[in-house]
């Protein structure tokens, strides 16, 4: 198991490496001249050239990439221009490691902005996660145990409807009616958990519901399917044959086994969300990583896009790792092989 984790960690690092390289290539080696984007109006070729040099876009893409990777472990300077550093040292931005780049649109190290958005995205993702797991798994179980009945059909039907509505649609409806029209909850605005947990939750409830709706729907289906599968396993029959009480059979024997694949799926979905729930954040104007990404795209803030893609991919890759390890903990068959 130990070696397994080490091996996986190495694989994760390699994977992130490849991801960063791909992302870098896709966005920087494109037909556009990134330097063109560094000045808004009044771009003259001279300014473009100066900026190209200042941000290192005149270096070969490979060098730019190695600079980027170096920045992950050591400090970088923007602009990396010894002449300017000598003439006006106060104008040099020092980007401490891990430095994910420097946004020439926002004139800030990208890392700082990501730090700002991360708590929002995490709050959103984790809260929604809790809701969808609780709601999804419970109703999935109920549906499975009442298979074929009215309850089952209602739950499955509701799940499918939830699953079929695009999330921006659900989100905008909730926002327009629940928050603005009926004023049942405040219009979402992020309040840090550490400041006021009650307000934090109150403000996030609509985004949570929006995000959870789609996931809950698919978890209902997932749980139900796994539950049906495990409840028809031989070992459930064995448990009954032992005389174990029915609800214990369900909880201890059925759910335990059914939850394993759900944990996997949930881990991966959560990992995916930690990189930003683009649509929900945009609908509710929560400035998490997802909305930052949208803004970065609108402003063609390439360093920001690259960094956000990387961060999001890192979450996915790490979630993969965690899930695999977790699987080993849950399932003894995996643990020992």
């Amino acid at each position: 198991m130990f070696f397994y984790i080490i091996r996986r960690l190495i694989a994760v690092v390699i994977m992130l490496f490849v991801i960063s390289m791909t992302t870098f290539l896709v966005f920087y080696a494109g037909p556009d001249d990134p330097a063109r984007l560094t000045c808004a109006k009044n771009c003259t070729p001279a300014v473009i050239a100066a900026n190209r040099h200042a941000f290192g876009f005149d270096k070969p893409i490979a060098t730019q990439y190695t600079d980027f990777v170096k920045g992950l472990v050591s400090e970088r300077k923007f602009p990396d221009d010894p002449a300017q550093e000598k003439a006006a040292p106060q104008t040099i931005t020092h980007c401490a490691a891990p430095c994910l780049g420097y946004s020439f649109v926002r004139q800030q190290p990208v890392t700082a902005m990501i730090k700002q958005g991360l708590p929002i995205t995490v709050s959103l993702a984790v809260g929604a996660f809790v809701i969808w797991i609780v709601v999804g798994v419970t109703s999935g179980c109920i549906a499975a145990l009442n298979r074929g009945t009215f309850i089952d059909r209602t739950i499955v039907g509701a799940a499918l409807i939830g699953f079929s509505l695009p999330s921006f649609f659900i989100g905008l409806l909730l926002l327009t009616f629940v928050a603005i029209r009926w004023q049942l909850v405040p219009i979402p605005e992020f309040v840090p958990f550490t400041e006021n947990p009650a307000l934090w939750a109150q403000n996030l409830i609509l985004p949570w519901i929006t995000l959870a709706a789609i996931f809950a729907a698919s978890y209902v289906r997932l749980t139900r399917a796994y539950m049906l599968e495990t409840m028809s396993e031989d070992y459930i029959r064995t448990a009954r044959a032992k005389g174990v009480k029915e609800n214990k059979v369900i909880r201890r024997h059925g759910l335990r086994a059914a939850l394993t694949p759900i944990v996997t799926a949930a881990g991966l979905d959560l990992g995916g969300l930690l990189g930003g729930a683009v649509i929900t954040e945009s609908v509710f104007g929560l400035n998490g990583l997802g909305r930052m990404a949208v803004q970065a795209v609108v402003q063609t803030d390439l360093p920001m896009i690259v960094a956000l893609v990387l961060v999001a991919a890192a979450f996915v890759v790490i979630a993969n790792l965690v899930v695999d390890v977790l699987y080993g903990v849950i399932d003894p068959r995996v643990r020992l092989s």
Partner: protein, 345 residues
Amino acid sequence: MSETTQKPFLEVKDLKVHFPTDDGLVKSVDGLSFNLERGKTIGIVGESGSGKSVTSQAILGLHRRGKAKTSGQIILDGEDLMTIGNEKLRTLRGSKMAMIFQDPLSALHPYYTIGAQIVEAIQVHHDLDKNQARARTIEMLDRVGIPNPQRRVDQYPHEFSGGMRQRAMIAMALVNNPELLIADEPTTALDVTVQAQILDLMRDLQKEFGSAIIMITHDLGVVAEIADDVLVMYGGKAVEYGNVKDVFYAPEHPYTWGLLTSMPRLDRVRKTRLEPVPGNPPSLINVPSGCAFHPRCAFRDQVADDGCRTIVPGLDEARPGHAARCLIPSDKRAQLFADDVKPRL
């Protein structure tokens, strides 16, 4: 069959288990009756799909209410299991009656240790604390011949070999000293060498615990080895029922004959070709009319007017304690067997 007049320990009367499905009503068990004495073993044989497992699960009350229609009587030690209610039945399961399944790997929960699963079986029925239950578990594992039980108790099913798993299943079944043990093909998945070990173990344990055993199997050899009585099932019904020696030496039903003649033997080289039972097992939805076996029966012309196709035979005693479900008169059957079948065995 014993001659005693007192009530038998287990009495199954006219058991029917029907499953309504999309394609029609599956009559998996359709009017099955048999008795079993304390400490005795009954072997149930029959082709795949003849209803053996369904019967055993019906006795334990494992069929889900909505999905199976069950009727008849199952009287265990004077109590009718069909009417005593779920909760009472549950308390009997695993304590008074227990079951061993065919495939021990899938019948054991992959996420719990062998020990935990046996401890659970104990604690469901006894008010023992963890340590006591564990001690009892280790003792039981030792008893069924698992070497090194202190260590093995904390291992998971997948760390056991096939034979060891089946021993663990047996330990789990016997841990509460059940008076009735149902073994559903406990050795089919195992090698003959391991089968010999397991059967040996079961015999020993039966002597020790005095349980009655229902042994379900495909293998006539196993029946010959371990059973006192035999029940031959075909299409959800018993076609022959009697003492093991009667059934093997003077079988009454053409299907039993077919089983015997189609089997190659270990103990001698057959002089003739094997005689398969022609055709295929019957559908349980559209059971053939009359005698369910008639489409495959080589002797159906022994009954006049196509009777086999139209008349449903009853399970009649040809001799005391030996019954068969066949329209051919008993004496004629004996003669057919002696003249026609026996030479071919």
